[in-house]
């Protein structure tokens, strides 16, 4: 009688497992995009939630279409907004900055003003709708 002896291994060769895993790893490394979403955050007021505020607590900031800033009726340079805002906050902690723009004001200037207010740690910023012409 002939006895068959199977001497070959029953296991699957797993030496290439590491290679396969490496390949997948490289694929995911390449396709992963590290989150680059950064920006100035702001919470909009909900609709129909307009409230009356005492005029003493409001600082009006107006920005015209050429990017000139009027802070409480005084022409102000963009760079000075931070210092003025800081001073106003230290004088009156309840102060609200009302930012009003012209419809043709550039978004860039608006962001710059918002950035200045944020760096002065202003908490209450109100965005007034530009008047429609």
């Amino acid at each position: 009688m002939i006895e068959k002896k199977r001497r070959d291994l029953q296991e699957i060769n797993s030496s290439s497992m590491a290679d396969i895993a490496f390949l997948l790893l490289v694929f995911f490394l390449v396709t992963t995009t590290i989150s680059m979403d950064k920006g100035i955050s702001l919470v909009l007021p909900s609709e129909g939630n307009e409230m009356e505020v005492n005029k003493i607590n409001i600082v009006n900031i107006l920005v015209n279409e050429s990017g000139k800033v009027l802070l409480d009726d005084k022409p102000t340079r963009l760079k000075d907004i931070k210092n003025i805002a800081e001073r106003r906050i230290s004088q009156n902690s309840k102060v609200i900055f009302s930012l009003q723009t012209h419809p043709r004001t550039k978004y860039q200037v608006y962001i710059k003003v918002l950035d200045q207010l944020k760096s002065a740690k202003a908490q209450k910023i109100s965005i007034a709708n530009p008047p429609s012409f």
């Binding site: 797993s14 497992m17 590491a18 895993a21 490496f22 997948l24 790893l25 995911f28 490394l29 396709t31 992963t32 995009t33 989150s35 979403d37 950064k38 920006g39 100035i40 955050s41 702001l42 919470v43 909009l44 007021p45 909900s46 609709e47 723009t101 012209h102 419809p103 043709r104 004001t105 550039k106 978004y107 860039q108 608006y110 962001i111 710059k112 918002l114 950035d115 944020k118 760096s119 965005i127 709708n129 530009p130």
Partner: protein
């Protein structure tokens, strides 16, 4: 008399756990990967200093706005008055959503305030103006 020391320790580092380590890394990258959906419109974002990181990509809705007044959400260019209904649907699907407004620095404030109005109608109030880091 000579003492012959015989050390039987093998000189090679065992590579048996290599696949496990690689698999662990693989699983990490698989979990963190969010496939890119949409490259967006051609916008030149403004620069600012006080920028904050957005919490999570999964809870972010992107609105693209160009200087020509085009707006795009969900890979499609849409009309301004259609924005609030789209954003409302996104809000219902995920109430934690933050809107990331990627707008061109030369866009007008009329466009931005129209977007504000539409977002307020949709009750999507958490907004982030996408900006790049300013190099001082």
């Amino acid at each position: 008399m000579k003492i012959v020391r015989k050390t039987h320790t093998s000189k090679e580092v065992s590579t048996a756990s290599m696949p496990d380590i690689i698999f662990m890394l693989l699983v990490f990258f698989m979990v963190t990967t969010v496939m890119r959906e949409f490259e967006g419109l051609d916008v030149l974002m403004p620069r600012a200093q006080m920028i904050e990181k957005l919490e999570s990509k999964r809870h972010t809705a992107y609105i693209w706005a160009t200087k020509d007044g085009l707006i795009s959400v969900n890979d499609r260019i849409i009309a301004m008055n259609g924005l609030s209904s789209i954003m409302y649907e996104r809000m219902v699907a995920d109430p934690k959503i933050t809107v990331s407004l990627k707008s061109d620095e030369n866009a007008t404030m009329k466009l931005i305030s129209d977007i504000h109005t539409q977002l307020r109608e949709a009750n999507a109030l958490k907004l982030s103006y996408a900006a790049l880091t300013e190099t001082p």
